[in-house]
C-alpha cells in the first residue's frame, strides 16, 4: 500500500493504543545505475527501497519502530513495538516533536530532467570509449558508469507537522585503470548534474591523469614537515571529524569541545560553516530530520568556536535553541546530529602561493582508511596517504604513496597557516556534503621509508 494509506492505519492504531504524541518519518529512494566492461554494458541495476519509522512518546520516553513492509498488519505492529521499546528506556533527557505551522525557507528550484535509461547507457559507453582513447596505458577494468537517484522524505506528526521534500540527481563516473611495467594505478572522477550539453572529456582526462601520475610513485621519506591537504583530502578528513561539533557528542563527553563555545579553537584564519542551502549542494534542505527549519551558521568564525550543532533534545539540555541539525542515518535510525554542507571558507591566496609558503613538504591528494585510522574522541589520526613532494616552494611530479600522515585534529586546527582561494564542489558522504580549499598545516608527522 502507499504511504498515505499506511499513515492512516498507523494513526488509527496509535490512537487506539492511547498514544497522543507520535510521528511518522517516510523515506524512499529509486536508483538506476549502469556500468561498462570492455566497451559493453556489463551491469545494469535498478533499485527501489525505503520504509517508515514510527516514533512516539510513551511514559515520557521516545520509542521507535520501523518497517519496509507497508501492510495493515505492520501498521499495528510498529505501534506496539515502539511502545514496548519505550518501556525499557531510561534516559531522562526530554524528548520533543516539532509543531506544525513553522516558516521554512524556499529552496531555489534547480531541478533538471533526469536522463532516461538510453541516455545513461550512451553516456557510460561514451565515457568508456573516451577512457580507452585517452591514453595507451589504459587497460581493461577501466569503466564508464552513469546513474540516477531520486529520493523523497516526508515527516508527519500528531502536532500538525506535514512536510515533504524530494531530491533528484544524475551522475556519471569515469574510472581509469592504467598499467605500466606490471604496475597498476587507478583513479576515478564523478560528475553530478544535468546531462544536457555534457562534456565528458574533463572527467575522463582528470581520472586518467590522476591514475598515470601515481605510476612509479615512491614511498615518502619519514619526518615532520609542512603538509598541504588538497581539497579532496581535507574534505574527507573533515567528514570524519564533523562529529566533534555535535552537541550530543559534547554532552556525552565524547568531544573535546564540550563547554568550549566562545573559545578560540583554531587559527584566526579558520572559518567553518554549515550551510543547508549551499549553492552547489545536490540536496539542499529547508527542514531537518525533526522538521525544524534549517539555517546557515558559522561553527568556527575566525578561529572562535561560535556554536556546536544542536537538535531539539540537546538544545533543551543546553538551554539554547536548536540549530536545525537533527539528522537520521537512514529512515530507521534514531535522531542524531549532522551538518548539511560543511566547509572551510576559502582563504585569499592562490594554491601556487600556498605551496610556495609550504617550502619543502608533502602535497596530499588522497587519504585512505578514515573509518579506522582517525579517532573522533581523542582527535588522533594516522592515515594512509598519497600525493606529491613539494620542493623549493613548488609541487613536483614526484609522486608518493604508501605512507601515513599523523597528527591530532584538535591541534591541527591551530596549526593551519594558510587556506587557498580554491572553491570545489562539495563531496557527499551520506546525507552530508563536505568541501574545503587546499589547506597548509605546519609540522605533521609523515611515516614512510
Amino acid at each position: 500500500m502507499d504511504f498515505n494509506t499506511f499513515k492512516k492505519l498507523v494513526t488509527e492504531a496509535a490512537e487506539e493504543a492511547g498514544i497522543s504524541e507520535y510521528e511518522l518519518y517516510y523515506s524512499t529512494s529509486e536508483s538506476t545505475d549502469v556500468g561498462t566492461f570492455k566497451h559493453e554494458i556489463n551491469e545494469f541495476s535498478s533499485s527501489v527501497d525505503g520504509g517508515v519509522c514510527f516514533r512516539c512518546l510513551s511514559g515520557g520516553k521516545m520509542g521507535y519502530a520501523s518497517t519496509e513492509a507497508l501492510t495493515a498488519e505492520e501498521a499495528r505492529e510498529i505501534v506496539a513495538r515502539a511502545v514496548e521499546n519505550a518501556s525499557v528506556l531510561e534516559s531522562d533527557e526530554q524528548q520533543f516533536l516539532v509543531a506544525g505551522g513553522q516558516t521554512y525557507k524556499e529552496i531555489e528550484d534547480k531541478s533538471y530532467d533526469l536522463p532516461d535509461t538510453a541516455e545513461l547507457v550512451k553516456t557510460a559507453l561514451d565515457v568508456d570509449a573516451a577512457l580507452y582513447a585517452a591514453d595507451p596505458l589504459i587497460i581493461d577494468g577501466s569503466q564508464g558508469g552513469a546513474g540516477i537517484l531520486a529520493g523523497r522524505i516526508a515527516i508527519y506528526n500528531s502536532k500538525g507537522l506535514d512536510l515533504s521534500c524530494e531530491n533528484r540527481a544524475a551522475y556519471y563516473i569515469a574510472a581509469a585503470v592504467v598499467s605500466k611495467d606490471g604496475e597498476m594505478s587507478d583513479s576515478y572522477e564523478m560528475k553530478i548534474g544535468s546531462f544536457k550539453d555534457i562534456d565528458i572529456s574533463e572527467a575522463v582526462n582528470k581520472a586518467v591523469g590522476d591514475a598515470k601520475a601515481m605510476l612509479g610513485a615512491d614511498v615518502a621519506p619519514t619526518g615532520s614537515y609542512p603538509v598541504v591537504f588538497a581539497p579532496r583530502a581535507m574534505s574527507s578528513l573533515l567528514s570524519v571529524y564533523s562529529t566533534v561539533f555535535s552537541s550530543e557528542s559534547a554532552q556525552k563527553g565524547l568531544s573535546r569541545y564540550a563547554g568550549k563555545e566562545g573559545e578560540k579553537v583554531a587559527s584566526d584564519i579558520v572559518t567553518l560553516t554549515d550551510d543547508p542551502f549551499y549553492k552547489d549542494s545536490a540536496m539542499p534542505r529547508s527542514f531537518d530530520a525533526e522538521g525544524s527549519p534549517t539555517y546557515t551558521k558559522n561553527v568556527i568564525e575566525n578561529g572562535v568556536l561560535k556554536t556546536l550543532l544542536y537538535n531539539l533534545k540537546t538544545a533543551a539540555v543546553a538551554g539554547v535553541k536548536t540549530t536545525g541539525n537533527a539528522s537520521k542515518a537512514g529512515y530507521a535510525a534514531s535522531i542524531g546530529i549532522r551538518p548539511f554542507t560543511f566547509y572551510f571558507a576559502p582563504g585569499d591566496i592562490s594554491e601556487e602561493e600556498l605551496i610556495k609558503k609550504a617550502g619543502n613538504g608533502v602535497y596530499i591528494t588522497e587519504l585512505g582508511g578514515l573509518h579506522a585510522g582517525a579517532n573522533a574522541v581523542s582527535g588522533d589520526f594516522s592515515l594512509q596517504s598519497s600525493g606529491f613532494m613539494i620542493e623549493d616552494g613548488k609541487k613536483t611530479d614526484k609522486a608518493v604513496k604508501s605512507f601515513t600522515v599523523a597528527g591530532n585534529f584538535f591541534d591541527m586546527l591551530k596549526q593551519i597557516t594558510a587556506l587557498s582561494d580554491t572553491v570545489e564542489k562539495p563531496r557527499s558522504s551520506g546525507s552530508t556534503a563536505f568541501c574545503s580549499p587546499s589547506v597548509l598545516v605546519e609540522g605533521l608527522s609523515i611515516a614512510g621509508k
Binding site: 541495476s45 527501497d49 521507535y64 534516559s91 597498476m184 574522541v377 594516522s382 594512509q384 605512507f403
Partner: protein, 460 residues
C-alpha cells in the same frame, strides 16, 4: 515467504526476453539494537527490512532490479523491468524449481525475538557496568546489544528453491578513558551466528566490558607510536584483519574477474610466504560470518585460498564466475535485497603455524606488538592497504615494553603476505562488518599471533 509456484511465474517473466539465468532473492529481516550511554538505556533501533531482488544474466551481462512490493503483481512488475532492461528477445529456457533443504549447521537455541527487552537489557548492563566500574579513569561508556533475524529465500532457473534463517547476536562495548587531559578509547564487540545462548557459554558480557575498559585505560597513559619501517607482531583474533585487507579482498571474483586484482592469473603460484595457509570457511558452526547457503543459494563451503603460500582458489559468485570460467564457491553475498550480490568473504583466517608466541616476540630486537587491531581498507588493484592499531606496545630486545597509541600499518598486500615469516600456534577469530559494493555484511577475521618481518608503521 513466497511459494514455489509464484517464484516460477516470476522467473518465467524474468527470462521472457532471452536471459539464460534468472534468480529471485526474497528477504524479511528484523534488526533490533539496544543502546546505552551515560549509564542509561538511551535508544532502541527496531526495524523490519523486507523486499525482493531479481537478477537476470545473458552471457556476460547482468541486470538487477529490486522492489519493496512483494505481492505477486509487484514481483512480476519487477521481473518485467529486469527482462526489459536486458533487451529484446524471446524466452530461451524453461523454469522448473525443486525445493532443496540444506539443513542448518548453525543451530540456534534461544531466538532473540522471543526474549523480552528487559532480559536483553540485563545482559547489556552486565557488560556496560563492568566497563564503567573498571577504573576511575573511565569517563564514558557506550554499549550495544544487537540481534538480527535475517530470513532469505532464493529461487533460480538452476532449479534452486531454498531458504535460510540467519540469526546473529552481538554485544559491543566502547569505553572512553581520560588521564591527564588525554582521552583514548577502547572497544570490544564479539558476535556469533547464534541466539541469546551466546551469553551462556560463548561470550561473557562482563569480560567484554573489562577488555574494552582495559584497552582504553592502557592507551590513555600511552605515548605516541614512533614512525618507521620495522618488524610487527600482530595478535590473534581480530588481528586477522591484516589478511582480510592485504589479501582477502584481492581474491574476490568482483576484482579478479576484471583484472583489477594484484592476484589475477596467479592460481597455482607462490603468492605468500610458505608459512601462510589461509581459508575462507562459511561452515564453521555458529561463527559470526557463517551461512548455510550463500545469497545465490550455493551451499556454504570451506575454501582453502592459500596453502603453504600457493594460491589455490578465488572466492567466486555465479556472475563473475562466468567470466573466469570458475564454479561458484559459496561466496555470493549481499547486505539486503536492495544490493546487487557479488563475491565476498565469510570467515577468513590464517591457519595455525609452527611458531610459539615466545619465539615470535623474542625474535624482535626492535618493533611493534599490535595486540588489538581496528578496521582498515584496501585498493585491490594496487594492493595498497591500511589498518589501525587499537592497542600497541613497543618491543625491545625481545621483550614487550610500553604501550603506544595512534599507530597504523600501511603497505602493499602482495609484499606483506610474503613478509609473514612467523605464524603462531593458537588461532582465534574476531567479529567484524565488511563494507563493499554489495553492502555491509558480517564477516569473521582470524589468525594466530604472526610476525611481519618488515612493514611501515604510521606514527609520529
Amino acid at each position: 515467504m513466497i511459494s514455489r509456484e509464484v517464484c516460477a511465474r516470476v522467473l518465467s517473466k524474468a527470462v521472457s526476453t532471452g536471459a539464460d539465468y534468472a534468480e529471485i532473492f526474497v528477504e524479511r529481516t528484523v534488526n533490533h539494537a539496544i543502546n546505552m550511554i551515560s549509564d542509561k538505556v538511551d535508544s532502541i533501533n527496531d526495524s523490519v527490512v523486507a523486499g525482493a531482488g531479481i537478477r537476470v544474466f545473458k552471457g556476460l551481462r547482468s541486470v538487477s532490479a529490486s522492489t519493496v512490493d512483494t505481492s505477486v503483481e509487484g514481483l512480476l512488475r519487477c521481473a518485467e523491468k529486469a527482462a526489459d532492461a536486458l533487451g529484446q528477445g524471446t524466452a530461451q529456457i524453461s523454469v522448473e524449481l525443486r525445493e532443496r533443504l540444506f539443513g542448518d549447521i548453525h543451530p540456534v537455541k534461544v531466538v532473540p525475538a522471543s526474549v523480552p527487552n528487559s532480559e536483553k537489557v540485563r545482559v547489556l548492563k552486565d557488560g556496560y557496568f563492568a566497563a564503567r566500574e573498571h577504573s576511575d579513569c573511565i569517563k564514558q561508556v557506550r554499549g550495544t546489544l544487537l540481534d538480527v533475524d535475517h530470513n532469505i529465500l532464493i529461487a533460480s532457473t538452476d532449479g534452486i528453491y531454498a531458504s535460510d534463517r540467519q540469526i546473529r547476536t552481538r554485544i559491543s562495548i566502547s569505553a572512553v578513558a581520560e588521564k591527564n587531559g588525554e582521552t583514548q578509547t577502547g572497544f570490544f564487540g564479539p558476535g556469533r551466528r547464534m541466539g541469546m545462548e551466546m551469553f551462556e557459554h560463548e561470550v561473557d558480557a562482563k569480560q567484554v566490558g573489562i577488555i574494552a575498559a582495559e584497552q582504553a585505560e592502557v592507551m590513555a597513559g600511552a605515548g605516541y607510536c614512533p614512525a618507521g619501517v620495522m618488524p610487527v607482531a600482530i595478535g590473534n583474533g581480530f588481528g586477522g584483519v591484516i589478511f582480510h585487507e592485504a589479501c582477502g579482498h584481492s581474491l574476490e571474483a568482483s576484482s579478479v574477474a576484471y583484472g583489477l586484482s594484484q592476484f589475477t592469473g596467479k592460481l597455482g603460484q607462490q603468492i605468500a610466504n610458505p608459512k601462510v595457509t589461509a581459508l575462507d570457511d562459511g561452515t564453521i558452526p555458529n561463527a559470526w560470518g557463517s551461512i548455510n547457503i550463500d545469497d545465490e543459494g550455493t551451499p556454504a563451503r570451506r575454501n582453502v585460498l592459500i596453502e603453504n603460500g600457493i594460491l589455490k582458489t578465488y572466492m567466486v559468485d555465479k556472475f563473475n564466475g562466468r567470466r573466469m570460467g570458475m564454479e561458484p564457491t559459496g561466496s555470493a553475498r549481499r547486505q539486503s535485497y536492495a544490493y546487487t550480490t557479488t563475491s565476498r568473504m565469510t570467515n577468513t583466517f590464517i591457519a595455525e603455524g609452527p611458531d610459539s608466541n615466545d619465539d615470535i616476540i623474542s625474535s624482535m630486537e626492535y618493533g611493534l606488538f599490535a595486540k588489538a587491531m581496528g578496521g582498515g581498507s584496501v585498493n585491490p588493484a594496487t594492493g595498497e592497504f591500511n589498518f589501525a592499531v587499537n592497542e600497541g606496545y613497543l618491543v625491545r630486545n625481545g621483550k614487550i615494553c610500553e604501550p603506544v597509541r595512534g599507530a597504523s600499518l600501511v603497505g602493499k598486500g602482495s609484499e606483506v603476505i610474503m613478509n609473514i615469516d612467523m605464524v603462531g600456534k593458537k588461532l582465534d577469530l574476531g567479529t567484524g562488518m565488511c563494507g563493499a559494493s554489495s553492502g555491509s555484511i558480517p564477516t569473521t577475521v582470524g589468525e594466530p599471533l604472526i610476525r611481519v618481518s618488515s612493514i611501515t608503521v604510521g606514527g609520529r
